[in-house]
Amino acid sequence: MMKFEWNRMLTAAAVAVGSAILPYGQTLAEDITGTWQMVTRLSEFDPPPLGSGDARPIQDIRGIEAMRAQGVYVTYMGDYENPILQPWASDVVKEHVDAELEEEHIVTAQEVCRASGTPGMWSIPSMLHISQNAREVALLLQRDHQVRLIHMNRRHPADLEPIWYGDSTGYWEGDTLVVDTVGQKAGTAVDIFGTPHTDEMRVTERFYLVDGENGQKYLRLHFTVNDPDTFTQPWGATITWRRPDLTGPLAQVFAAPAFLGPMLEEVCAEGNRETENPYPVEARYRYPAKF
């Protein structure tokens, strides 16, 4: 046991001097790994950083202040007249709005815990945990235990078939983790309003630390969406996280008791159904299952 205490003291001391040891990963000047709780907002994305050149994201047509006055905390009616939308995309957003007006709701993938790609995966607050090894950075979402892997310092595969999360490659630019994602299958929404995309979409994400309250560091993501078939210009947004607040009013919703680890096990899959198991291709409910 003493050997291990020495190692932990080393690690703790190194963290104390502001340098993080990640034995099988990158040595970082600032540490973005660990657990993060999204700073609550009304499901709309926050605007991109000043000077980024990104257009602002689609917002709710009713306006934030009007909704706050009504006590509405989740927004679903996107501004389909926003000029960044190509006509077909505007039609899709309007379809969602029309449904809301009929008091129905067209769900997005993230709302039903399905793989939603990026930036759709950021459209609903969920606990996030970032892990790292020598080759990958893992983004783990508490919501239905979703995982996204960023392959560090490598290229996208030449023969990429579009899949929900596409392929993400990343590198460090100083203290900023820069991620490039391509090959995300069309059919998911990029925000809570149901705004669509094509599989040509390219998303650039930049993760970095900023100063938050009480001398804490907050994690910020600035993402930019490039999809000329869907959007008339690149648009971007920011998301901000803080370390989990185990004392605040949302602690019971989002945070696990410390003895359980950084996150709750959240399994939404009970409603899903494996209608085909192509290994091997045969009737479902085969007994015994193939593995």
Binding site: A115, N133, L260, R284, P288, F291
Partner: protein, 241 residues
């Protein structure tokens, strides 16, 4: 002179901080073994086979197994992990033909499995709380607590819910299930996982199973794995009889 006492004190920590400023960090391998990266089974199992002897069922365990087999065969019992893609549980998650990836940090070891995109985060060097603490948090994958024993990562898991089987044939477990995984590399390219199953209600003695994996730096996990959609081709992974 008791060095550990000095280290444990704040003075010791402060001294260490000063000493470490500007020092080179410990190289990989000098703190604890490296088991991180992508691993893929060399073969997989539908039916768990103990390392030694037969599965030591209690009468209740045997009855539960027979009942599970019958229920799965006639469809009255649902194999949720394969029908609804809920997490497989332990040790079944290790007997899969799909790859997995391990991430190591000083206070956590994270296992990410491609099948059903399951992840398990093991808290390192934390004593598992008594079973009563888990009554309110029954998980498919349980809660995991790890520590290093020489070159072996020992992971204790407990707090399992009742919606998993130990294997694809419906091997049962109760809420009292405790598993102990012993994970180590045999050489740089091979990972051995030995899982000991303890469940006094179903099994009269602990029994163990063994899995072997190969390091695969050429593989990227498909985390877009989605229930009901085509998955990676695993026909190259042989089924162990």
């Amino acid at each position: 002179m008791n060095v550990s006492r000095i280290m444990a004190s704040g003075v010791g920590a402060a001294f260490l901080s000063l000493v470490l400023t500007g020092m080179t960090l410990a190289a990989p391998g000098e703190t604890y073994p490296n088991i991180s990266g992508v691993w893929w089974a060399k073969s997989y199992r539908t039916e768990l086979k103990p390392i030694e002897g037969e599965i030591p069922f209690t009468p209740a365990g045997r009855a539960a197994y027979d009942s599970n087999i019958a229920g799965l065969r006639d469809g009255s019992l649902e194999d949720m992990a394969r029908v609804r893609c809920t997490p497989d549980g332990v040790p079944r998650i290790w007997s899969s033909p799909y790859p997995l990836e391990i991430f190591q940090e000083p206070d956590l070891t994270t296992f990410v499995y491609e099948v059903n995109h399951v992840f398990r985060i093991a808290l390192m060097d934390v004593e598992p709380p008594p079973d009563s603490e888990f009554i309110a948090y029954p998980y498919y994958s349980g809660s995991s607590f790890g520590h290093w024993d020489g070159d072996t990562l020992v992971v204790q898991a407990r707090g399992f819910n009742r919606f998993t089987f130990l294997d694809a044939t419906g091997l049962p477990h109760s809420l009292q299930l405790h598993t102990i995984e012993r994970i180590r590399t045999l050489n740089y390219n091979e990972l051995e996982v030995v899982v000991t199953i303890e469940d006094r209600e179903m099994y009269s003695a602990p029994w163990s199973v063994r899995f072997l994996y190969e390091k695969r730096n050429d593989v990227r996990l498909d985390t877009s794995y989605t229930c009901g959609e085509p998955h990676r081709d695993v026909s190259e992974v042989p089924l162990e009889q």
